[in-house]
C-alpha cells in the first residue's frame, strides 16, 4: 500500500486532534498548537489542513456542540480515523528506526 504523504504541519495537526480526543475543532487545535509549540498559526492554515486531512481520510468530522459564545453556531468536531492512527504510528516507527540507525557521535554532535 502506498503510504499517503503527510506533511509536517499536517502531522502536527493530526497529533493535536489525537491529543484533544473528542474535543478537537478549529479553535482548540489552534490553541493547542500555540500552547504546545509556541507557534502562532493563522486560522486559515489550520482550517485548510483539517479539510485536507479529512479528504485524505485521516480524520472524520461531524457538526455539533453549539455554545452561546459562538453565537449558537455549531462546531465541526474532528476525530482521528483508524487510517490516521496507523499513519501516526508509522511515522513514529520510522523515526525510531532512523534514530537507532544513527551513529552515537552523530547524535552528540548534532545535539549541540
Amino acid at each position: 500500500m502506498r503510504r499517503t504523504y503527510l506533511g509536517e504541519f499536517e502531522e502536527l495537526v493530526l497529533l493535536m486532534i489525537a491529543i484533544l480526543d473528542e474535543n478537537a475543532y478549529g479553535v482548540t487545535v489552534s490553541q493547542e498548537i500555540e500552547q504546545q509549540t509556541g507557534r502562532l498559526v493563522a486560522f486559515g492554515s489550520v482550517h485548510n489542513t483539517l479539510i485536507r486531512l479529512e479528504e485524505k481520510g485521516f480524520v472524520t468530522s461531524g457538526l455539533g456542540g453549539a455554545t452561546a459564545e459562538r453565537g449558537g453556531r455549531r462546531k465541526r468536531l474532528f476525530k482521528v480515523t483508524a487510517l490516521g492512527k496507523t499513519a501516526l504510528a508509522d511515522i513514529q516507527e520510522l523515526r525510531n528506526k532512523l534514530w537507532k540507525l544513527m551513529p552515537d557521535d552523530t547524535l552528540k554532535l548534532s545535539g549541540i
Partner: protein, 868 residues
C-alpha cells in the same frame, strides 16, 4: 455577559466571500478565537489576529470542503416512485393506443408461437424418460453395412445375458402384429398388439393397474390389455379373468390391466401377449435363432457400463465375438442405443412406427427463439422510433434529480409490463391454438398452468423478452442530455437509425429464411410424392390376407379372376411401402467374396409385372407356362449391378437365396419399395408360394364397386373376419407424414414471423410518415405526385429488405441444402425459390408500408403546413 464581538464589516466580508458550506463552523471558531485573544491579549491584538484569520479563510487562500451529498437521494424502489412508474406506463399504453396494440400484439403472438413450439420440443425430449431405469436401458441394433436395422435375433437377449455379466437383464419385444379380437358380439381388428418377454413389466416402468406384475406375463394363455381396451370391450376396467377370442381360433384370459401407454413412450401398444405364446409355434424362439432379425432387444446394463461409453464399446466388442462364436459369418455392426435416444435419434430401418427426429427438434427450437427475437425487435424499434415522445419526460425527470439507473429501471420496468401483459394474452392464444397445433403435430400436448416448472419457464420467457426488448430503448432513452431535449433540439442520432435499420434487416432475414424453408419443404414433399416410383401407384387397392383366406388361396384367386372388376390382381408378400425382409445369404455366379450386402426380397406372382406396370429390362417375368419358375429369380437393376452383371449377361446366370438354388430369369427396372428417404436397394423377386397381400388394379372411377366386390369375396371365403382394405397411394403418402407435419408447422410459423415483422414495419412506417408530414407537404406544394411521395417513403424500407434478401439467401440456401441431405432423393434447390421468397417478402412489406405512405401522400398539404 456579552461576549466581545469582532467588527461587523469584517464579518460581512467573511460571510460574503467564505464558502457557504463551511461558513457556520468557521464563523463560530473565529468568534471564539476573538473572544479568547480579547481576554488574553487585549482588543487591538485580538482585532489584528481576527483580521489576519479572516483573510486566511477567504478565497484564494481557503480550501473548499468537498460537497458531500447532503440531500436524501430518492430511493428508486420507494412506493411513491413505483406508483408513479406504473401510472406513467399505464398512461403511455392508453394514450398511444395503436402503438401499444401493435407492440402487445407482436409480443404476444411471438410468445404464443414460442410457447407452442417449446411445448412440442419439450414433449419430444420427454420421450421414454419416465422409465425408472431409463439411463441403464439400451436397445441392441444390428446393422449390415448401409442397412441399419433396429431389429435383432431371438437368441440374442438370452444368449448375451447368460455370457456377459455387464448385462443385468434383457427383454425381447415383437413388432406390432395385427389380430382380430372378439368379445361377445364385438369384433375388432387390433393393430397394436405385441408379444413380450415375461420380465417386460419389471424391466420397463409401464404401470400395471390390476393383476400380478410378477406372473402376469408367465402364462401362455394370458393377455394384458390397457385400460382403454378394457373399457372398449368390457365397459369396465375390472377385466381380469375375462376372455378374449383372438383370430377366431384361440381364447385368451385377461391377466392384467395396464395403464394406457404414455404418449411419450416410443413403445406404443394396446395389448401385450406373453412371448411364450408365440414360442409354441415359432421355431425362431424354440431354437433361439441367431440369424433371423425380427425382434427388438432391450438390454439393461449395470451402472458402470451404462455410464461409460468406453465400457459400452468394450461390451459391443464382446457381443460381436459371441455372435461370431455362434457360427454367424455375416458381418454385423452392433450398436447400443440409449432408450432415451430411441425416439429422436433413430434412423434405423424396421423401427417401431412414429419416431421423431432430433433435427426437427433443433430446427424448431431455433425457430422459436428467432420468432421471439423478431417480436422483441418490433418492440425495440417502435420504442426507439417513438423516443422523441418520451424525450421531454426523460429531460424533466433528469432535471428533478433522476439518475440514469433510475431511468433505465423505469424503462425496463415498462417493457416488463408490456411483456407480462403479452404473456397473459399469449397464454390465451396458446389455449385457443392448442387444438389446431395438436392436429398439425398429431401430438397430445397439454398445458398445465399450475405446473411450477412450466410457470417458471413462462415467467422466464416474459422476463427475458421484457429485458431483451427493453434494454436498448432503456439505454438509449436514459442517455438523453436534459438540456438538449428540453430545448427541443433532439436529433435522432445516426447511430440509432443505423441500429434500427439493422434490426429491421434482421427481422426480414428471419422471415425470408423461413419462407424459403417452407417453400423448399413443400417442394421436396411434392417431389417425393410425384416421383416416378417405377410402378404405377394409382388405383392400387389391397386386401391383406387374414384368417381363413390363408387356407383358401386357390379359391380366392378363382373368385378374384371371375369378377371383371378384380381380375387384374396379384398376390405379393409385402406392400411396397416398407419391404421388411432381407438377407445377406445370397450367392451368385461369378461371386468373388462372401456377400455382405443386404438383399431385400419380395414374393410376387405371375401377374406382378402387369398389375404394377413395372418394366422388364431383360429376360422375362414369371409365367405359368414355364414349369420351373418355382426355382427362378428376378432381380432389379441395383442387384444386377451389385452382382457385377449387365443387362446382356444377367439372364440365365444361377444364384441362390438362402438354401434355394435357382436361375435369374429376368431383370426388372428399379422400382421403389421403401420410403424415398432410403436410396434404392437391391431386390430379389421370387415366386409367391406363401400369400400375403392381394393387390388389385382397379379401373379409375370403379373403386367403390371394386371395394364392394372384394368385400363380397371376403364375406364368402372368410366370414369370421372383418373386411380390411387400403389404397397403396395413401399408404405411400403416409410414409412422409413427419415431413408433411414439418412442412405444415414451418408454414404456420413462417407466416406468423412475417406477420409479426409486418406489425413492426407498419408501426415504423406510420412513425416515419408522421415525422415527414411537413416534408411531404412542401414536396406536394412544389408539385410532387402521389406516386412520387409513396415511392419516396417506400424506398428506405425497400433498401433494407433488399439487404435482408442478400443476407438471407446464402443462409437459407445452406440450411435447406443440409436438410435435403437427409433424403436419398432430393429436389433441386433452385435460385428462383429464393427469389420468389424475396419477392414475396418485398411485396408483403411494401403492401404493409403502403397503408401509411399512401395516406401520407394523399394528405392535403394545407393541413400539414398550416401550423407554421
Amino acid at each position: 455577559m456579552n461576549a466581545p464581538q469582532p467588527p461587523q464589516w469584517a464579518k460581512t466580508v467573511l460571510r460574503w466571500l467564505h464558502p457557504d458550506n463551511t461558513l457556520e463552523e468557521v464563523e463560530g471558531d473565529l468568534d471564539e478565537l476573538y473572544a479568547y485573544s480579547y481576554a488574553h491579549s487585549g482588543k487591538m491584538q485580538a482585532l489584528f489576529r481576527y483580521l489576519i484569520n479572516v483573510i486566511t479563510v477567504l478565497p484564494p487562500f481557503v480550501r473548499r470542503r468537498q460537497q458531500k451529498t447532503k440531500y436524501d437521494p430518492t430511493f428508486s424502489l420507494s412506493p411513491d416512485m413505483l406508483k408513479n412508474y406504473f401510472k406513467i406506463a399505464w398512461r403511455n399504453i392508453v394514450r398511444q393506443k395503436s402503438y401499444s396494440i401493435l407492440n402487445i400484439a407482436g409480443l404476444s403472438i411471438g410468445m404464443a408461437c414460442s410457447i407452442l413450439i417449446l411445448l412440442w420440443v419439450q414433449n419430444e425430449l420427454s420421450y421414454d424418460r419416465f422409465h425408472s431405469r431409463a439411463d441403464q436401458i439400451f436397445r441392441l441394433t444390428c446393422s449390415a453395412g448401409d442397412f441399419r436395422a433396429a431389429v435383432s435375433a431371438a437368441g440374442m437377449a438370452p444368449g448375451f445375458k447368460s455370457e456377459l455379466p455387464q448385462i443385468k437383464s434383457g427383454v425381447r419385444i415383437s413388432k406390432w402384429i395385427p389380430m382380430l379380437f372378439e368379445v361377445g358380439e364385438k369384433k375388432v381388428d387390433e393393430k397394436r398388439v405385441m408379444y413380450v418377454d415375461s420380465n417386460f413389466l419389471d424391466f420397463f416402468s409401464f404401470p400395471l393397474l390390476a393383476g400380478n406384475k410378477a406372473t402376469a406375463l408367465q402364462d401362455p394363455g394370458a393377455i394384458l390389455i390397457t385400460e382403454e381396451m378394457a373399457a372398449k370391450y368390457f365397459g369396465t376396467s375390472d377385466a381380469i379373468g375375462k376372455t378374449i377370442r383372438i383370430d377366431n381360433k384361440e381364447n385368451f384370459t385377461v391377466g392384467g390391466v395396464l395403464a394406457n401407454t404414455p404418449p411419450n413412450s416410443h413403445l406404443q401398444f394396446d395389448c401385450l401377449i406373453p412371448m411364450k405364446t408365440l414360442a409354441r409355434t415359432s421355431t425362431e424362439l424354440q431354437n433361439n435363432s441367431w440369424n433371423n432379425f425380427i425382434f427388438y432387444t432391450y438390454l439393461e446394463l449395470n451402472d458402470k457400463t451404462a455410464a461409460s461409453a468406453s465400457a459400452r464399446q468394450a461390451l459391443i466388442k464382446q457381443i460381436s465375438s459371441i455372435f461370431k462364436g455362434h457360427g454367424q459369418t455375416i458381418k454385423i455392426d452392433f450398436e447400443l442405443q440409449a432408450l432415451t435416444d430411441v425416439h429422436l435419434h433413430s434412423n434405423y430401418q424396421l423401427d417401431v412406427a412414429g419416431h421423431g427426429n432430433i433435427q426437427y427438434v433443433n430446427i424448431f427450437f431455433i425457430i422459436a427463439i428467432f420468432i421471439l427475437i423478431v417480436a422483441c425487435i418490433n418492440f425495440m424499434n417502435l420504442a426507439t422510433a417513438r423516443s422523441e415522445r418520451r424525450a421531454k419526460e426523460v429531460g424533466l425527470r433528469k432535471v428533478v434529480g433522476a439518475n440514469r439507473h433510475q431511468l433505465i429501471f423505469q424503462f425496463l420496468g415498462e417493457s416488463l409490463i408490456f411483456s407480462f401483459l403479452s404473456l397473459i394474452i399469449a397464454i390465451g392464444i396458446v389455449f385457443l391454438l392448442l387444438p389446431i397445433f395438436k392436429m398439425l403435430t398429431e401430438k397430445s400436448l397439454t398445458i398445465h398452468l399450475l405446473d411450477g416448472k412450466l410457470l417458471l419457464s413462462l415467467i422466464g420467457i416474459a422476463v427475458l423478452t421484457g429485458l431483451l426488448s427493453g434494454s436498448y430503448p432503456a439505454l438509449f432513452l436514459s442517455g438523453f442530455a436534459p438540456v438538449k431535449v428540453l430545448k427541443g433540439k433532439l436529433r435522432v442520432a445516426g447511430g440509432n437509425l443505423l441500429f434500427r435499420n439493422a434490426l429491421v434487416v434482421t427481422q426480414f432475414v428471419v422471415a425470408i429464411v423461413l419462407l424459403v424453408g417452407t417453400a423448399v419443404v413443400y417442394k421436396q414433399l411434392d417431389f417425393i410424392k410425384k416421383r416416378n416410383l417405377g410402378f404405377d401407384k394409382s388405383n392400387l387397392l389391397y386386401l391383406p390376407m387374414s384368417g381363413e383366406l390363408w387356407g383358401k388361396q386357390q379359391a380366392l384367386k378363382l373368385a378374384l379372376a371371375q369378377n371383371h372388376l378384380t381380375e387384374n390382381f396379384t398376390v405379393i408378400s409385402a406392400l411396397p411401402t416398407a419391404v421388411e425382409s432381407g438377407t445377406v445369404d445370397v450367392v451368385w455366379d461369378g461371386q468373388t467374396a462372401p456377400n455382405q450386402v443386404v438383399f431385400p426380397s419380395l414374393d410376387v406372382d405371375e401377374n406382378f409385372i402387369n398389375v404394377f406396370k413395372t418394366k422388364v429390362l431383360a429376360g422375362r417375368g414369371f409365367d405359368k407356362t414355364f414349369s420351373g419358375d418355382s426355382s427362378s429369380y428376378m432381380i432389379n437393376e441395383k442387384a444386377m449391378q451389385i452382382m457385377g452383371m449387365n443387362v446382356n449377361n444377367a439372364v440365365g446366370k444361377s444364384m441362390s437365396l438362402g438354401d434355394e438354388k435357382g436361375t435369374i430369369i429376368g431383370v426388372v427396372k428399379d422400382f421403389h419399395f421403401k420410403s424415398l428417404q432410403y436410396a434404392m436397394e437391391p431386390l430379389i423377386l421370387r415366386i409367391n408360394r406363401w400369400g400375403g397381400v392381394v393387390m388389385v388394379r382397379t379401373e379409375a372411377g370403379n373403386n367403390e364397386q371394386t371395394i364392394k366386390a372384394l368385400e363380397k369375396i371376403n364375406l364368402q371365403l372368410n366370414p369370421a373376419f372383418p373386411f380390411r382394405f387400403g389404397f397403396l397411394d395413401k399408404d405411400l403418402d403416409n410414409l412422409y407424414r413427419s415431413e408433411q407435419q414439418m412442412g405444415n408447422i414451418f408454414n404456420l410459423f413462417a407466416g406468423l414471423a412475417i406477420f409479426i415483422s409486418c406489425l413492426g414495419l407498419y408501426g415504423l412506417s406510420a412513425f416515419m410518415a408522421e415525422q415527414r408530414t411537413k416534408e411531404i407537404g412542401v414536396r406536394k406544394v412544389l408539385g410532387a405526385s402521389v406516386a412520387g411521395v409513396v415511392g419516396l417513403l417506400s424506398q428506405d424500407f425497400l433498401k433494407l429488405i433488399l439487404i435482408a434478401i442478400v443476407i438471407a439467401s446464402p443462409i437459407a440456401w445452406y440450411a435447406m441444402q443440409s436438410w435435403l441431405q437427409g433424403f436419398a432423393y432430393q429436389t433441386t434447390l433452385e435460385w428462383w425459390v429464393i427469389a420468389l421468397a424475396g419477392i414475396l417478402a418485398t411485396a408483403i412489406a411494401l403492401f404493409t408500408i403502403s397503408f401509411q405512405s399512401i395516406k401520407a401522400a394523399l394528405m392535403n398539404p394545407v393541413k400539414s403546413l398550416r401550423s407554421e
